[in-house]
């Protein structure tokens, strides 16, 4: 770890690089931002933006369950609840005739309410309010290791399944006719989203996590001409907004998560102008 820090100090001879928490946050963003970019492309393609938003909100209930079970780090409970939550939405979406956004909204508000109710019991909610906006500066080297494991897992998934996901997003019958196991791939994708969202929520925050999934991909979609450009640009936008958001927040003394989202939003609006010109 020390060697990496020294390399960073050599490359970035600026004051922000004097602090270990800044260096940790920098590395964390380098690992996690590409994942947000990539996974975001398929969330946007599949019109799942509202779904991933609801999934983020469900984290509150996940945390509450974790606390009730007495687990110190509630991330396992969050992931488990997130997967069940996402699976339930998908199941009902497939079998009920109500419109999707209604179903997602019902689930989303129920889980927020349930989470808030459980966590506020005994007037202790302040303890958990950090989950709402997150704190990327609290990342330690052990967390980085977890992030690397998640990174490898999701990249492997992407290598094996992104083609299939694309075909499903275009037309699920068409995918089925090419012998793709549509339900299986869809469920795996949901698990991937749940893991990515829940693992990052502590650092990014429930309120803005979805913007990190959607904005880079949406910006990239405005100007990309094919899937390769779409993925590469989404990853680049995600990394650029993550790193510049981190450094800007250091010099301005504002929270990091929101700064990252603001940079991502600015990129989105710039691509919107380019799209209009074409």
């Amino acid at each position: 770890m020390q060697a990496i820090y020294e390399i960073m100090e050599f490359i970035f001879p600026y004051s922000w690089c004097d602090y270990t928490f800044m260096k940790n946050a920098f590395i964390a963003i380098l690992i996690i931002a590409p994942l947000f970019g990539l996974v975001g492309t398929m969330i946007v393609n599949n019109k799942m933006a509202f779904f991933s938003d609801a999934l983020g909100h469900s984290a509150l209930t996940g945390i509450a369950i974790g606390v009730m079970l007495g687990i110190q780090d509630p991330v396992i409970a969050m992931i488990a609840f997130g997967i069940i939550f996402a699976y339930a939405i998908n199941k009902i979406k497939g079998s009920d005739n109500s419109s999707n956004d209604t179903i997602i909204s019902v689930f989303s508000s129920t889980s927020i309410a349930l989470g808030l109710a459980l966590l506020s019991k005994g007037g202790n909610f302040n303890k958990y309010s950090s989950y709402l906006i997150g704190d990327i500066l609290s990342i330690n080297p052990t967390d980085l290791l977890t992030l690397i494991v998640v990174f490898v897992g999701i990249i492997l998934f992407w290598i094996f399944f992104s083609n299939k996901l694309l075909l499903i997003s275009i037309d699920s019958s068409l995918a089925k006719s090419k012998d793709i196991k549509v339900k299986l791939v869809e469920n795996l994708f949901i698990i991937i989203i749940a893991i990515l969202v829940m693992i990052s929520i502590k650092w990014v925050g429930i309120l803005i996590i979805n913007s990190l999934l959607i904005l880079p991909a949406a910006a990239s979609k405005n100007i990309a001409k094919n899937m390769r450009q779409y993925s590469i640009l989404a990853v680049c936008f995600s990394i650029i907004s993550g790193l510049s958001g981190l450094i800007l927040s250091y010099y301005n003394g504002v929270a990091t998560g929101p700064t990252i989202v603001i940079v991502a939003a600015i990129i989105y609006f710039i691509t919107l102008i380019f799209k209009g010109k074409r």
């Binding site: 992407w158 075909l167 037309d171 019958s173 089925k176 979609k221 899937m227 390769r228």
Partner: protein, 244 residues
């Protein structure tokens, strides 16, 4: 498209297909036998279960019954390779999927977000030439016209050498001239490739001209036969009156 002339002996057997939702049958006991090189057209009123039948055939919805393919060469029954052309694609106009992306994602396991394979690109381009669509390879799916998209989808459905080609109301969003071109293309495919084709259609003028067999369904098969037989049947007149 180098295959021999249709042998007419291989047989696709669709046996006793039923789809049930709750206690109600959406389609019931559909039996269709199709020989390669034949175009079978399915017609029926709205809500008759035409699309459901197609979705059952490609395995997207749970169904009773079996689909078998009997190869004349060795008389063995095997799993059938299918190609499917959907009615339309539910994608937004700025969806960045190019025609190449569609083909590459459906035919190779190489992740297209990382590589563009020159070999695949050339294979796809060559195949698109058969459909007069090679110049569309780098275009985005959302930018294609109705007719262009249909040709691309037909090419996509046939690239894996299917034994049965399934088309869902492919003519929506295409003008009269475009439909004529489309049906000619199907006719061509039928003759050049050794495949059976099932098509759901509403346009009886083209059905009369091109179909080898017409199957009218309304949950069950109501009547079937050559287009003349079906169009002059009393069942057909009950449903559609006298105007074709």
């Amino acid at each position: 498209m180098k295959k021999e002339i249709a042998c007419g002996h291989c047989c696709t057997k669709i046996n006793n297909i039923s789809v049930k939702i709750g206690k109600e049958y959406i389609i019931k006991n559909i039996n269709i036998h199709i020989h390669c090189g034949h175009l079978s057209v399915i017609i029926g009123p709205n809500g008759a279960g035409k699309t459901t039948l197609l979705k059952a055939l490609i395995g997207e919805i749970k169904h009773e019954g079996k689909i078998l393919f009997v190869d004349e060469k060795d008389n063995k029954t095997k799993k059938i390779r299918m190609g499917y052309v959907p009615q339309k694609l539910n994608i937004e106009k700025n969806n960045p999927t190019s025609v190449y992306d569609l083909f590459a994602s459906g035919t190779t396991n190489k992740p297209i977000f990382l590589f563009r394979s020159e070999i695949t690109y050339n294979v796809v381009k060559k195949h698109l030439e058969n459909f007069g669509a090679e110049m569309l390879i780098d275009k985005k799916l959302g930018d294609l016209s109705g007719g262009e998209l249909q040709r691309v989808l037909l090419a996509f459905a046939t690239i894996s050498d299917p034994e049965l080609l399934i088309l869902d109301e492919p003519v929506s969003g295409i003008d009269n001239n475009g439909m004529e071109i489309f049906y000619k293309l199907i006719d061509d495919l039928k003759k050049k490739l050794d495949i059976a084709i099932i098509l759901v259609s509403h346009d009886f003028r083209f059905v009369e001209k091109y179909a080898d067999r017409v199957i009218m369904i309304d949950k069950e098969i109501i009547c079937e036969g050559s287009s003349d037989e079906v169009f002059s049947s009393k069942e057909f007149k009950e449903y559609f009156g006298n105007n074709i």
